[in-house]
């Protein structure tokens, strides 16, 4: 056993003396995490780029006799006090609460607004038609005729969805609010008329009153609100929200420990090529001990790598990993599975170069399938099931559980599955190595 440890110590030393290995094992995951962390902010106060929005407000107001507008263009009739719909949209988009999300400018005509989007100067153009207020307020119960439908045009950069989505939602909300007022007015008129009141002037006044009441209520009663929070593990314990960098770093760590494992694992092939492995086999040390030593080396290298990364994450990115016990168990568990994967991918190969290429392919594939690269895609339910074909998917699930405040009981199943995978990989690697070297 001592001899196996000697072999292991030699290999571990070898890996940690190589600058290139250190870069791949430690600098790479931290760098990529840093970059992604920067992309999503450090968890608090994250802001996406403000959407450059051009508004063309052509709304003429609802015209005389309608409760539409105090706007200069309209001459204020009965029910005056409602804002012109176009102005309301402008005001909503320009409101201070949206200042971080919407960067608002106005444009005199639709052509130049569209041109701004085409030229990439703006992300979205909102073209408010001249008959907007009329379409909203012009029909019964406020007036006589049925106004034709109006269309607000939202012209957006096709490659953007989030920002224009927000702008469209705001516009929609203003329009729907106006329509809510109309609905209140219409239903009030309908109910009153059903009761026998049919004086048009009285009904008009009733409609205006209902609409006004609605708008007042809409302003004072925001309705149901949403409070966003991260998922917690225990319903009784405190809520925990790991920051983005921590979530990313776990994925990166799991991915790069594979490379960490493949470096010492490849030393089996290196030594074979250099002739030192056959030479080791000529010594009195049994082959099983020599291979055992290699396995220990791979495990120790990855374990050290994980510990360093976890500490670095703590110091550099302020990551909170969770309770010490489960974190320790998962760290060891991760090192075991990475070691087994590193060894099994190398055991198929004939030369170190081949091993390097084969294992890179497999690792990238596993990383993608398991969700090491958080935020790559939102693939929904199928994906969350499918990632479980990879032990790394299970491992990441366990890390998620404890990062969000879970305890031992939340990681038992993933840990067992990961260890079972590792056992299979170790067995396979041993089978191939023994067939070649024993």
């Amino acid at each position: 056993m001592l001899r196996a440890l000697l072999v292991a110590a030699k290999d571990v030393r070898h890996v940690y003396r190589s600058r290139a290995s250190l870069v791949l094992m430690l600098v790479a995951p931290l760098l990529v995490t840093g970059a992604i962390g920067a992309a999503f902010g450090s968890g608090e106060g994250f802001e996406i780029e403000a959407t450059r929005t051009v508004v063309v407000d052509q709304d003429r107001g609802a015209g005389a006799g309608h409760p539409a507008s105090t706007d200069a263009s309209a001459d204020g009739g009965a029910g005056a006090g409602f804002p012109a719909a176009g102005a309301a949209i402008r005001a909503a988009l320009g409101s201070p609460e949206l200042a971080d999300l919407v960067d608002l400018t106005t444009s005199p005509d639709p052509q130049s607004a569209r041109a701004a989007v085409d030229a990439g100067v703006a992300d979205v153009a909102v073209v408010i038609p001249p008959d907007l207020s009329e379409a909203l307020w012009g029909g019964s119960p406020f007036g006589d005729g049925e106004p034709g439908p109006a269309t607000i045009q939202i012209y957006k950069d096709a490659s953007r969805t989030v920002g224009p989505g927000i702008v469209a939602a705001v516009v929609e909300q203003v329009v729907r609010t106006c329509q809510g007022a109309v609905a209140a007015a219409r239903s009030a008129v309908a109910a009153t008329a059903a009761h026998g009141l049919d004086d048009p002037a009285a009904l008009g006044a009733l409609a205006s009153a209902a609409a006004s009441d609605f708008l007042t209520r809409a302003q004072s009663d925001p309705g149901l609100s949403l409070r966003a929070r991260p998922p917690s593990v225990s319903t009784t314990g405190p809520e925990r929200a790991p920051n983005v960098a921590a979530q990313v770093l776990i994925g990166m760590m799991v991915f790069f420990t594979l490379f960490g494992a493949s470096v010492p694992a490849r030393s089996v092939l290196d030594e074979h090529r250099a002739g030192t492995l056959p030479r080791l086999f000529t010594t009195a040390t049994p082959r099983s001990l020599i291979l055992g030593g290699k396995y220990i080396a791979v495990f120790v290298v990855v374990l050290l790598q994980s510990i360093i990364l976890l500490i670095a994450g703590l110091l550099l990115y302020g990551a909170h990993w969770g309770a010490f016990g489960p974190v320790a168990v998962l760290t060891v568990c991760g090192a075991v599975v990475a070691a087994s994967l590193g060894l099994v991918t190398v055991s198929f190969a004939k030369t170190p170069g081949q091993a390097g290429a084969v294992s890179s392919v497999i690792f990238v594939f596993l990383g993608l399938v398991s969700g090491s690269f958080t935020g790559t895609a939102d693939l929904g339910q199928v994906y969350s099931v499918l990632r479980r074909i990879s032990p790394l998917g299970w491992l990441l699930e366990a890390w998620d559980n404890i990062m969000f405040g879970g305890s031992f009981s939340d990681i038992v199943l993933p840990v067992l599955v990961v260890l079972a995978f590792s056992l299979v990989f170790f067995a396979l690697a041993t089978f191939f190595f023994r067939r070649r070297y024993a």
């Binding site: 909203l136 939202i154 609100s225 991260p230 979530q247 392919v361 339910q381």
Partner: protein
């Protein structure tokens, strides 16, 4: 010049014979693209974003809300009890979760503001869309309840009628009818030349995958050059009177050919299999793909001229490929990243390549639109290629 062709041809012959290279450059990317395409396709086919809903109140009001939410085409509601909901969100089985708290109905009746827990992971992009969809449903139901309240207030005031079930039903029916006939519609159009068919929802991941695979392909390229260096093959070239720039150009040509073929294959799979509209502007697509290939090949040559040892080369290549991918918006769209990040990202040529690919597949960009972003990429190519030739040493 003919030597350049011969070197390129030799490289291609070697690539064709190397099963591993074929696996890495062609087969695996296609398998993965198909895999991702099917996943995204299925995610799109699902009737809306999966939203877990935990109704802790169990009242009539909360059930009504659940029913309203189920009616939204944007959402696929899955009722899950609370601990399960947290798990489902954490393991990304659902885009987000919504919790209706105990005392919901009572609070509503008392006119108090109620706040619902929206449970989500900020790194899951679907969470934002789910939130928008929930908010829009909540807003709609809020809208109709306010309209009923206002109408009732006015009607009871004018007629002296009591606000009873009958009036409530009458008002509810007419409010619902009025809201169902909007006189104003929103027409959202994408800028650019109109494209045939509809966006497939695969326009982010397909070009992203393409850029990532080309970047990962750098590894085989760089390792190959390092190997030739070690074996003294590059010295032999010089001894045979082949010029340094001829060696670099020959290798570049081969790498460009291989990565171009790779992109062509992925674009074809994207278009034919998953409806990403790549080929409506063949010239623009050709220019973009060639620019990416040439940039990647020059970058690979630069790396192989800067580093000697296999270990160092693998390390540096993997890091640079990943960083270029992340910064270029090939992992996630830059529009969901922070403002400063998105700006910094546009320093990198990959961001501009992604912009061109998005432009082509979404906005109907043609040659004139890709010229400016590609000009920036070519500035990079000029610098990287010159550095690679300058630093290229055969041993």
């Amino acid at each position: 010049m003919s030597r350049v062709w011969h070197i390129a041809f030799k490289e291609l012959l070697q690539t064709r014979r190397d099963r591993l290279a074929a696996l890495f450059t062609l087969i695996l990317p296609v398998i993965f693209t198909v895999f991702l395409g099917i996943m995204i396709g299925r995610a799109n086919e699902d009737s809306g974003l999966p939203l877990a809903l935990a109704d802790r109140d169990g009242s009539e009001a909360s059930q009504t809300l659940a029913l309203t939410l189920s009616g939204s085409p944007a959402l696929a509601i899955r009722q899950i009890a609370l601990p399960g909901l947290e798990d489902a969100v954490r393991s990304r089985k659902v885009a987000a979760g919504l919790v209706i708290p105990v005392g919901y109905e009572t609070a509503l009746q008392a006119g108090q503001t109620v706040s619902l827990d929206f449970v989500c992971l900020e790194t899951v992009p679907g969470a934002q869309s789910a939130r928008q969809a929930v908010e829009s449903v909540l807003f709609e139901s809020h809208l109709s309840s306010l309209a009923i309240k206002s109408a009732a207030h006015v009607v009871t005031g004018a007629t002296g009628l009591p606000f009873d079930d009958r009036l409530d039903r009458v008002l509810r029916e007419s409010v619902t009818a009025a809201l169902a006939q909007p006189t104003v519609t929103l027409d959202v159009t994408d800028a650019g030349r109109p494209l045939p068919g509809e966006a497939s929802g695969f326009e982010q991941s397909s070009p992203g995958g393409m850029v990532n695979w080309v970047l990962f392909g750098l590894l085989t390229v760089v390792a190959g050059v390092a190997w030739e260096k070690q074996r003294g093959l590059l010295r032999r070239f010089l001894a045979a009177g082949v010029k340094q720039r001829e060696i670099v150009a020959g290798k570049l040509l081969a790498m460009v050919a291989v990565t171009f073929l790779q992109q062509l294959l992925l674009a074809t799979v994207g278009q034919v299999g998953f409806g990403v509209r790549y080929f409506h502007a063949p010239l623009a697509l050709l220019a973009t793909m060639l620019s990416l290939s040439i940039f990647a090949a020059s970058f690979g040559l630069l790396l192989s001229s800067l580093f000697r040892r296999e270990q160092a080369i693998i390390a540096v290549t993997i890091i640079s490929a990943q960083l270029l991918g992340v910064m270029g918006g090939a992992w996630f769209p830059l529009e969901v990243a922070s403002h400063s990040f998105s700006r910094a990202a546009h320093f990198f040529p990959t961001a501009w390549i992604m912009e061109c690919l998005h432009g082509i597949t979404l906005s109907g960009w043609g040659m004139t639109q890709v010229l400016v972003p590609l000009g920036y990429v070519w500035a990079w190519i000029a610098v990287v290629f010159s550095l690679a030739v300058w630093r290229f040493r055969p041993d």
